[in-house]
Symmetry: C2
Subunit: 462 residues, 2 copies
């Protein structure tokens, strides 16, 4: 056994752990960053980054086809798309991330870190790291696999295998109508696969406004995806000519690869001694402090907390946690009031998310009115000069949810081609609690798609 003492030990070097470590180090603390796979984490190699690299060419080609006069071919070139994706993921080489950590004054430590006691992390079973001030758990999440008979007889794809694929399956089955399911269905359809998407409800993206799922469903079908709604996979069987999926209604599909995208659960294995069952979230207060553990030394951020399982929101929580730990160590911690730099207050009000399908879904805050409230929902088509000029046949919808008592926005949803960059306007309006009659004075530039803001406010009655 060897031992070493740090101010802070961060477990998990995905984007969230990197940011937590960076903020603590910036606060003058000696920080260790422990990672058992690759520095940079799931997002960099197997999630956000490669998925968007696979989606962008197909979405851009679809956009180009909608503007007459732009000379385009029929399909993207998969080899070029995969090569570009590999450039972004570095084929898994994390040396750049390790160098970044060192440059930020953080000590990168490779190995599996386990919390073996109060303020104590053991790496690889024999290297004991003591944390003077805090341990910050940023271990993320792991795929949650459903118990489908026969699934264990094949080697199904998870999101990792999908985002790192280097060939295009002739026939791809996808189970799950969440973000991973629809994004990968879209990407592989654009790459030339015959894609079967099996979802449990009448439309994908059940957590979004229903028109979002409806428009994405229509977009997937237009892209050639065969969507099996109100369905499920009840059995899987390997065979010589492919994998046979038996759907809920008894019909069968034969596919070459089968992507299971049915969700993720917090990666909390090894915390039983603190009363945290594997797969259960490590719940925290808004500063990132783990509520169930005494002594105030255990923090967490990102997917593992179950707060808002998105890279950007996890990094936000990591900034709050890193700053809190640094300020506590320096004795400069002030009250953790809402909207202070020590609190991830926006987790409760304004969590933005973009689904990079065609059309895109960009949503923040509430998707609908609160039951029993005086909230008002305004729905309109995105049909302004900017959208018409952007693409022939532009189809999109926008919603805002208004707290009529406080006269502020609670949620905004945009669905349509290239709406992703509109979202931050809504996030600022919600977080800034800008009253609607002040938003009236924020004039959208003509002719942009953002003019939909004017139409939303006019439809509200301004």
């Amino acid at each position: 056994m060897s031992g070493q003492t740090f101010d802070v030990v961060v477990i998990g070097a995905g984007p969230v752990g990197e940011v937590a470590a960076e903020r603590a180090a910036r606060g003058g603390l000696k920080v260790a960053l422990v990672e058992h796979e690759r520095f940079g984490g799931e997002c960099s190699y197997w999630a956000c980054i490669p998925s968007k690299a696979l989606l962008r060419p197909g979405n851009l080609l679809a956009a180009a086809k909608r503007v007459p006069g732009v000379p385009v071919g029929d399909r993207v070139d998969p080899a070029a798309v995969f090569a570009r994706r590999d450039w972004f993921t570095g084929k898994g080489d994390d040396s750049g991330q390790v160098d970044w950590a060192r440059g930020a004054g953080i000590e990168p430590i490779r190995g599996h870190g386990e919390i073996t006691g109060e303020r104590e992390v053991t790496v690889g079973g024999d290297r004991v790291l003591t944390a003077r001030h805090a341990v910050i758990v940023c271990t993320g999440s792991v795929p949650s696999t459903p118990p489908i008979p026969g699934l264990d007889t094949i080697r199904p794809w998870g999101s990792r295998e999908a985002t790192s694929a280097s060939s295009v399956p002739g026939r791809l089955g996808v189970l799950g109508g969440g973000v991973v399911g629809v994004e990968m269905a879209q990407a592989f359809a654009s790459l030339g696969s015959e894609v079967h998407l099996v979802i449990s409800g009448p439309r994908p993206l059940p957590r979004n406004a229903s028109f979002a799922g409806d428009l994405v469903l229509a977009g997937l079908r237009e892209a050639g995806v065969q969507v099996h709604t109100d369905s499920g996979v009840s059995a899987v069987a390997a065979g010589d000519s492919g994998t046979t999926l038996t759907l809920k209604d008894g019909s069968t599909l034969v596919v070459d690869e089968f992507l299971v995208a049915t969700g993720r659960r917090p990666a909390t294995a090894g915390l039983e001694r603190f009363g945290i069952e594997p797969g259960q979230p490590l719940e925290t207060d808004d500063t990132g402090r783990v509520s169930a553990v005494d002594g105030g030394w255990l923090f967490a951020a990102g997917d593992v907390t179950g707060r808002a399982p998105l890279t950007h929101q996890g990094k936000y929580g990591a900034r709050a946690a890193g700053d809190t730990v640094a300020a506590l160590a320096a004795g400069t911690f002030s009250e953790a009031s809402p909207w202070s730099r020590f609190t991830a207050t926006a987790d409760h009000h304004a969590v933005p998310q973009v689904v990079f399908t065609d059309p895109e879904v960009a949503a923040v805050g509430l998707a609908d009115a609160r039951p029993g409230s005086a909230d008002r929902v305004v729905d309109i088509d995105i049909a302004v000069a900017g959208s018409s000029l952007h693409a022939d046949g532009y189809t999109g919808k926008a919603r805002m949810v208004v707290d009529t008592e406080r006269n502020v926005l609670l949620g905004v949803t945009f669905v349509g081609q290239d709406v992703s960059e509109l979202l931050h306007s809504a996030t600022i309006a919600i977080v800034g609690e800008v009253p609607l009659d002040r938003l009236w004075h924020a004039v959208p530039s003509f002719p942009t798609i953002s003019e939909v803001w004017l139409r939303l406010l006019e439809a509200y009655g301004l």
Copy 2:
């Protein structure tokens, strides 16, 4: 002579006049809308709409070329681009706009309207319209032509001829580094012209942050435009093989068409009786009331006021003026306090503008710190995961100007491919006076280009 009485007479049926008339009619007033050219105005037929229709295909093709795997040809098809532009402008048929006016309860009147007395507009010299409550002047602006020797011997293009062209000049000269000059240089370069852009300074877009002009200059050159900086056209001569332009340094260019894009002036002819010289702005207070005319019956909005010569900002002023006139008539007018629905307050703080070149320039508020102030300027490169994924070799810059005393934003500039839809986030932040430490909680979705907001705030020290 025939006579007719209305509550309100609006002169000029461009987007600004249409909105002023619509808001007044919505307030229950009987409204006449007088237009001597086409209902829909400059913007619809000869400015914003056709210019963006000419730019979008070329910009989209350039975007597609930057993502390997997207199969594209070399050049846009001019015939298809012109046909699509014609679809947007309806080849000048304004019957749809006239029908819209009637549907909105507005009486459209064709002819040249002149103010011939207090509350009196004479159309076509013999039809007298009396306005019980107000006349609203929305006559826009006209091109300002510089006195260049020989210019009168050719038929130069103005913005109208450029945006309505149906063939591609082999060689196009463009004079002027403002928005029209750079946008049309970009558009015709993408259509295949050999373009010579002659500008007076070292870079185009002198009213923007200097990096905006520098990046647009680089983009134009990359697109094949030959930019002649610190120059001007001192003489023009017609000839058999084209028009010869003599530049400031004595060198010459021969071109097939010559676009003069040296600015516009308010269309105020015919108002001498009120002390307004032709070409001078019709100055108003924030409700749109013309300051120089007694009696409170004369209003104006849009380019003619000289406030902020942009379609969207003119429509904003028209909403304030239309609502003011309607409320005055109904006796419900309240104090015209800043940021009320009766005041175009944002004209002083947050006028957004997008230049649809490649790269785009999207700016709102101040371009730089106020002299002698404690304002702080933060400049960063746009280099986030979202921009890298968006286009290989993405190049862009962002600036925010901070009022350090009030801890709010005064201005934001984004320059880069497809930044136009980021702008409204900045407009809301400025208009909403959202403090910087609250903006910290507006988390940009990963991986979007909007993540540049996080980098700006980090660079500021948050």
